[in-house]
């Protein structure tokens, strides 16, 4: 875990941050708060037995999703791994459909079929939510390839963890991205751990993980993920490089997760010290950092902070109520969304057996 040094640059002066109106700043702050409150609520209901499977909380990392996604235009696309709640809300998905998905309900964004790891909103340029570590990295490459193929000036931000960099598919993707000139930005959200394994125990590196890009002639940078202004400033450069020059970038954003790998991670206080966690919360919490900053700037007031927090809490509570009251999928629902053709009852779907239930 590297963290902001005292002499660090102030990225508020970067043009992309200069362009932020006070309203937009409050909006970004609000988004981070909403993500956190949403997840705190999800945790509560997970512990109450309302959800199945895993719950991978993003708490502590909010500035990464919010900062990067805030830069997205109409033709910019996003794809991430299973720790996807932050990205989902940041692209504009509603708490209701997200919470209902975790509750396994028909009203969930994936109709209860995907669960916490598999949120999707193609209408908002968000392509998941993927459970196989680094399995999304070639998909992100492909979304960006598609943009270029279709003649759109956009890029794809593809997120992965610090543990995911050791999957071969990621390296294959880097080589192709560079060779073909693909407008993809890989964002390594380095929270220091892959499950219970520290970055040092999982990855050999010289300096940093992003440096792996260098041998592919790809530009890279390291970013302090607790500072939303820095996240935006550096990511903007990468996105412009992608959009304008069709060149990929690898960004390593240093961040931290407060909870365990997933809520089922009982060891989470064994492989890291309470001091380490506490230090991050005190000194690098992305919401607190940005809140202090906006208070200093006079953009936020204490009152506004309170009302934003309260609204987010209420919104999250309402989403849990919505989820809880929504209908569960039926047995018949198990068999839909397997094939596009059968879902659409096309002529093709009428030929031959597609399913082999007796």
């Amino acid at each position: 875990m590297t963290s902001a040094s005292s002499s660090k640059l102030d990225f508020i002066s970067s043009p992309i941050n200069q362009a932020l109106t006070p309203e937009r700043k409050v909006e970004l702050y609000t988004q981070m708060v909403r993500i956190r409150k949403f997840e705190q609520s999800a945790l509560k209901y997970y512990n109450a037995g309302k959800m199945g499977g895993f719950l991978h909380l993003y708490i502590g990392q909010e500035a990464v999703a919010v900062g990067t996604i805030s830069l997205g235009g109409a033709d910019d696309h996003f794809i991430t791994a299973y720790r996807d709640h932050g990205h989902a809300l940041a692209v504009g998905m509603g708490m209701n459909e997200c919470m209902a998905e975790m509750f396994g309900k028909q009203t969930g964004c994936s109709k209860g079929k995907g669960g916490s790891m598999h949120f999707f909103a193609p209408d908002k340029n968000f392509w998941g939510g993927h459970g196989i570590v680094a399995g999304q990295t070639p998909l992100g490459l492909g979304l960006a390839y598609g943009l270029k193929y279709l003649g759109k000036e956009g890029c794809c931000l593809c997120y992965l963890g610090d543990g995911a960099v050791n999957q071969g598919a990621f390296h294959e993707s880097l080589n192709i991205a560079s060779l073909f000139g693909i407008p993809v930005v890989y964002v390594i959200e380095n929270n220091g751990y892959s499950m219970g394994t520290s970055q040092e125990r999982s990855s050999a590196f010289n300096g940093c993980l992003a440096q792996r890009a260098e041998a592919y002639a790809i530009e890279w940078d390291v970013v302090d993920g607790s500072d939303l202004y820095e996240v935006r400033a550096k990511t903007h450069i990468a996105m412009e490089r992608a959009r304008k020059q069709h060149k990929p970038t690898v960004l390593e954003i240093d961040t931290y997760r407060y909870y365990g790998h997933s809520v089922a991670d009982a060891n989470n206080k064994k492989y890291r010290t309470p001091e380490e966690i506490e230090n991050y919360k005190q000194n690098h919490d992305p919401i607190s950092v940005f809140q202090r900053r906006l208070l200093e700037e006079g953009v936020l007031t204490e009152d506004l902070v309170k009302s934003i927090g309260k609204a987010a809490t209420n919104e999250a509570a309402a989403s849990a109520k919505f989820a809880d009251e929504s209908p569960a999928p039926t047995i018949a629902d198990i068999s839909t969304d397997v094939y596009w053709e059968t879902d659409h009852q096309t002529a093709a779907s009428k030929v031959g057996h597609h399913f082999f239930n007796d």
Binding site: F120, L139, A169, D337, G352, H354
Partner: protein, 328 residues
């Protein structure tokens, strides 16, 4: 009017027509462009369609197939060549987790209109790691479609259907069939597309049903001639063509007609398409069977290299005839 084309030419014609029809169709793979394809299926297409539509990739199957899947979600329609289908092994996660599941896990919000194609067969001396027949393996994953054409006309008609299909279709060709010739309808007579999921009765018969796909169809037809000429047995040969969707009705129909079945399947005998077909037949045509369903599969070992013996490991006319004669 129809012309005589090789299987390879028929495929190429199908690809070419689809490249012309839809500007989102793009061919990708190792050596498919400048080299004209390791097996020359894509010969001339790069010259005709250029860098954008016919793309050479590095040897990174997980990378470029995953890329195709991602692009397909945005509306591009990649047709990706595996130089051998055996190389599915290095791209397996993309093939079975991403392509097969992304629609489901997104509750129907995504779809994945890709085709992955290339040869999958034994018998060409390339040894165990290059001779896998994964059609049964992939058909086991709901969300995927699989087809295995045996003739030039089927190759053309099915590749066109596969490219137009809005689901992932895994299309298995055969290096030993590329040079085979057959009649293929003339493009002037209209768009020639064969729907997935339709079996084809390649030979009518009354005494026994040989049910096969891919090159085993050709072997079964040869066996049927021997059975007719030397043993007076009139075998029917049903070509499944498409494995998923599967033409179960056609299977049951031929069983009801002949009451005796030999399944011919180049896969290894544990599992494979033939075990599934046997399951379906015994379940749905139990009373129509006069004898147990038998199979002719490859001998149960990794593919042997030796050119002196490798044909013996595969279903061949002699083994098929012997099996039919063993039916009680």
């Amino acid at each position: 009017m129809s012309r005589i084309l090789t299987y390879r030419e028929a495929l190429r014609e199908g690809l070419d027509e689809e490249l012309a029809r839809d500007s989102n169709v793009v061919l990708m793979g190792e050596e498919v462009a400048q080299y004209n394809g390791a097996y020359k299926v894509t010969q001339g297409l790069w010259e005709k369609w250029g860098d954008k539509r016919v793309v050479d990739t590095p040897i990174s199957e997980a990378g470029f197939i995953g890329m195709g899947i991602g692009a397909s979600m945005l509306g591009v329609r990649p047709v990706m060549e595996l130089m051998f289908w055996s190389f599915h092994s290095v791209a397996f996660d993309q093939l079975v987790s991403n392509a097969a599941c992304v629609r489901y896990m997104s509750g129907g919000l995504c779809n994945c209109p890709i085709v992955v194609r290339g040869p999958a067969n034994g018998g060409s001396g390339v040894g165990a790691t290059h001779s896998h027949l994964p059609e049964g393996l992939f058909a086991a994953f709901p969300g995927l479609k699989v087809c295995v054409p045996a003739t030039p006309a089927d190759a053309k008609g099915l590749i066109k259907a596969a490219i137009r299909d809005n689901d992932p279709v895994y299309f298995m060709e055969n290096t030993l069939l590329y040079g085979n010739t057959g009649e293929v309808p003339d493009p002037e007579d209209g768009d020639f597309v064969i729907p997935l999921g339709l079996a084809d009765l390649k030979r009518e018969g009354t005494d026994v049903s040989l049910i096969a796909h891919g090159r085993s169809v050709i072997q079964s037809l040869a066996a049927a001639e021997i059975l007719q000429n030397e043993h007076g047995i009139n075998a029917e040969v049903l070509d499944l063509r498409s494995i998923r969707p599967l033409d179960v009705d056609a299977i049951l129909k031929t069983v009801k007609k002949t009451n005796r079945v030999v399944l011919v399947d180049e896969s290894k005998p544990f599992g494979g398409v033939s075990a599934m077909v046997a399951m379906l037949i015994q379940e749905h045509a139990f009373d129509d069977l006069d004898a147990p369903i038998k199979r002719v599969c490859s001998i149960d070992a990794p593919a042997i290299y030796s050119p002196h013996i490798e044909n013996e490991q595969l279903p061949n006319p002699a083994r098929i005839v012997a099996k039919v004669l063993s039916l009680r």
